[in-house]
């Protein structure tokens, strides 16, 4: 496998291998808590924190963790960071913590995070692992914010709680209900696919972006 550059490590997670929109990982929080921009941002930041913390620690400790117990150790590390994030959110922004409910605790089982540890952080130097975690985390935040904006705008006529369309706007309530999550995700993936198809040169056959089937992980 070709060595990646630092820039690639950082940027690939943001767009070309976006965890939600391209790799379709971490869909549970992406569908469940993106009914407002505020919730999406809080979820994105909490996941970002957990991902960066875990990648940093896993990459630092990779020589010390025996291969046989690596998955359980990763889960333990991730769960610790999630608990820290959970308590911090409850103390600092209790209203948002209440709105996110059980989904904060469920960051532990977000396969995007475990995936980065197994496929990247456990095999690379600390700096690279952190770059990759930051890129993937930012990509996750961007995807959640796109979903949150779309759903709040259509479902509530507002952005970040500020009403935009005036009182005459009849909100599409379905967009902030669970089915709206699927509609929004479908629409975003469709739009992204369309943009990529238009960008790709005609003569070359369409290729799957790198990372869809992560050969390292396989």
């Amino acid at each position: 496998m070709r060595e990646t550059t630092r820039q690639e490590d950082l940027l690939r997670g943001i767009w070309r291998e976006n965890p939600v929109l391209i790799q379709l990982l971490g869909l549970c929080p992406a569908l469940a808590v993106t009914n407002s921009v505020e919730n999406a941002l809080a979820m994105g930041l909490a996941t970002f924190f957990v991902l960066c913390g875990s990648s940093l620690l896993v990459s630092t400790l990779k020589k010390l963790i025996p291969h046989e117990v690596r998955i359980s150790t990763y889960i333990l590390i991730i769960a610790t960071f999630v608990t820290v994030a959970d308590m911090t959110l409850e103390a600092v922004v209790p209203e948002i913590h209440k709105a996110l409910g059980a989904f904060i605790a469920l960051i532990v089982v977000n396969c995007m995070i475990l995936g980065r540890q197994e496929a990247f952080a456990s095999k690379r130097p600390v700096g690279r692992a952190l770059l990759d975690a930051v890129g993937t985390g930012v990509g996750f935040i961007i995807a959640l914010l796109l979903m949150g904006s779309l759903r709040e705008l259509l479902g509530n006529g507002s952005l970040l709680g500020i009403s935009l369309f005036g009182p005459s706007y009849e909100p599409w309530v379905v967009m902030i209900l669970p089915p709206g999550g699927f509609f929004a995700l479908g629409a975003l993936i469709l739009a992204l696919g369309w943009i990529q198809q238009r960008r790709a040169p005609r003569s070359q056959p369409q290729e799957w972006p790198e990372g869809v089937a992560d050969r390292e992980a396989a």
Binding site: N35, L64, I65, P66, H67, E68, V69, S72, T73, L76, I77, A79, T80, T83, V84, M87, T88, E90, A91, V92, P94, K98, G101, G155, N156, P171, V173, I176, L177
Partner: protein, 214 residues
């Protein structure tokens, strides 16, 4: 990958166990530290929220006291050796003249999606409600959550006669015990009414017994 696996030296079991145990101890220690530093803030916020809710449903009393429900009676302080933590409680508010203005009662029962937790003020002398506030609900956004956000619906509980009766929106008379239910959120509206009526059924005898013994 298979080649790499076969040459990997065998790691003794004690090393695996020690690694896991060490990681567990470190994780536990970190969680304890964070828990201790965040817990005071969390508890302070919860107490503040409760204080605000009690003041709101009792229409800003001069002061209020906590009463515990212990062995079927209302008591102002818990007897020696009994944990107050698990006991159900009421709050009694006093006006400027030191007369009880009403009781704040918290109750929770299933709504449409999940348990609805609410608190309401009850004027025992007049047998009327003083106000109602939903503390916690996961009702459908845009429909069921109007039990919390619709000012018209919420204001109907101010001064409502008990027991409450739910009526379809717009059809009710001026009867003060009638609550107009929200169109599209009948189950949630009915749940609020049921929760209050059930809580009153439980609490009114206790309150009456307390008044009689004074």
């Amino acid at each position: 990958m298979n080649g790499a696996l076969s040459v990997r030296p065998e790691v003794p079991a004690w090393r695996l166990i020690t690694t896991m145990a060490l990681a567990g101890v470190l994780a536990g220690a970190l969680i304890v530290i964070v828990h201790q530093s965040t817990q005071p803030t969390i508890l302070r916020y919860k107490a503040e929220m409760l204080r605000r809710a009690v003041n709101q449903v009792l229409k800003q009393p001069e002061r209020y006291e906590t009463l515990y429900i212990y062995r079927g009676a209302l008591i102002a302080s818990v007897p020696e050796g009994v944990q107050s933590k698990g006991l159900d409680r009421l709050y009694v508010g006093y006006g400027a003249d030191d007369q009880a203005v009403g009781f704040a009662i918290a109750a929770a029962e299933p709504g449409f999606q999940d348990i609805v937790r609410l608190i309401f003020g009850y004027d025992a002398m007049a047998g009327r409600l003083l106000g109602m506030k939903v503390l916690e609900s996961k009702e459908t956004p845009g429909l069921g959550d109007k039990i919390e956000k619709d000012a018209v619906f919420v204001s109907q509980f101010d001064g409502a006669a008990t027991p409450l009766v739910g009526v379809k929106g717009g059809r009710g008379s001026d009867d003060p015990g009638e609550i107009d239910m929200i169109t599209g959120a009948t189950i949630s509206s009915r749940a609020v009414i049921r929760i209050i009526n059930n809580a009153l059924e439980r609490s009114v005898p206790l309150i009456a017994a307390r008044e009689a013994s004074r």
